[in-house]
Symmetry: C2
Subunit: 97 residues, 2 copies
DNA sequence: AAAAAGTACTTTGCGATGCAAAGTTAATAC
DNA sequence: GTATTAACTTTGCATCGCAAAGTACTTTTT
């Protein structure tokens, strides 16, 4: 089947797909790690993070490490499900796996 | 690796991804088949086709069938390569296959 | 012959998106 | 108190996606 409707609009952006992929496999990652892994500007990253957070797909973990502020992000349960469903849809469309 | 740069911008749109997927597995498909398989309006489909054609990823085959005009599309060699590279990039990012 | 319908577009208009660049806030270091 | 770092937010602009309407050509119907 070619059901492109099952693709999640939230993951059509390469940056948001990348964020989810990193967080999903690493468990969590902080702002600067994401920034350098994805090669995007801080403003751009922040806006994509905000979009994913607004959808409830990721959550923010703020803390201080060595007296410096550190913001980490992790995928929520709902985010994990949505991401997994998106990958399933992709695989079905692209006939992989 | 999380190299989102290897993703092809042309295939970030669900419609263009769908077009490529259908053409890639069916060999070729005509306008109305694509339209109904993807569930998009004719204007929308035409514009996405135009974009893929402009990139040299698909080619147009115009003919008459039962005295009716029929336009079919097929993936070009360069389109096949680009699509395959995009899928590889996706698989690498999503860690599938 | 005129009207209607089908195919494949193109054009228009508009709201949403993506991104760079600049500005902001708050804590820390010197 | 000045500078630096972290993490954003805001601004501005160019691009995108899409619906809706318009177009051109042909065939079918009346």
């Amino acid at each position: 089947m070619t059901n492109i409707e099952n693709l999640d609009k939230a993951f059509e952006s390469r940056v948001r797909l990348g964020i989810m992929s990193v967080l999903n496999s690493a468990g969590q990652a902080d702002f600067n790690t994401l920034k350098s892994m994805l090669g995007v500007s801080d403003g751009n990253l922040a806006s994509h993070i905000k979009a994913l957070e607004k959808l409830g797909y990721i959550e923010t973990i703020k803390q201080f490490i060595h007296r410096k502020p550190n913001t980490s992000y992790a995928v929520t349960e709902s985010g994990r499900k949505a991401f997994s469903a998106h990958i399933d849809a992709l695989c079905s469309i692209l006939k992989i796996k």
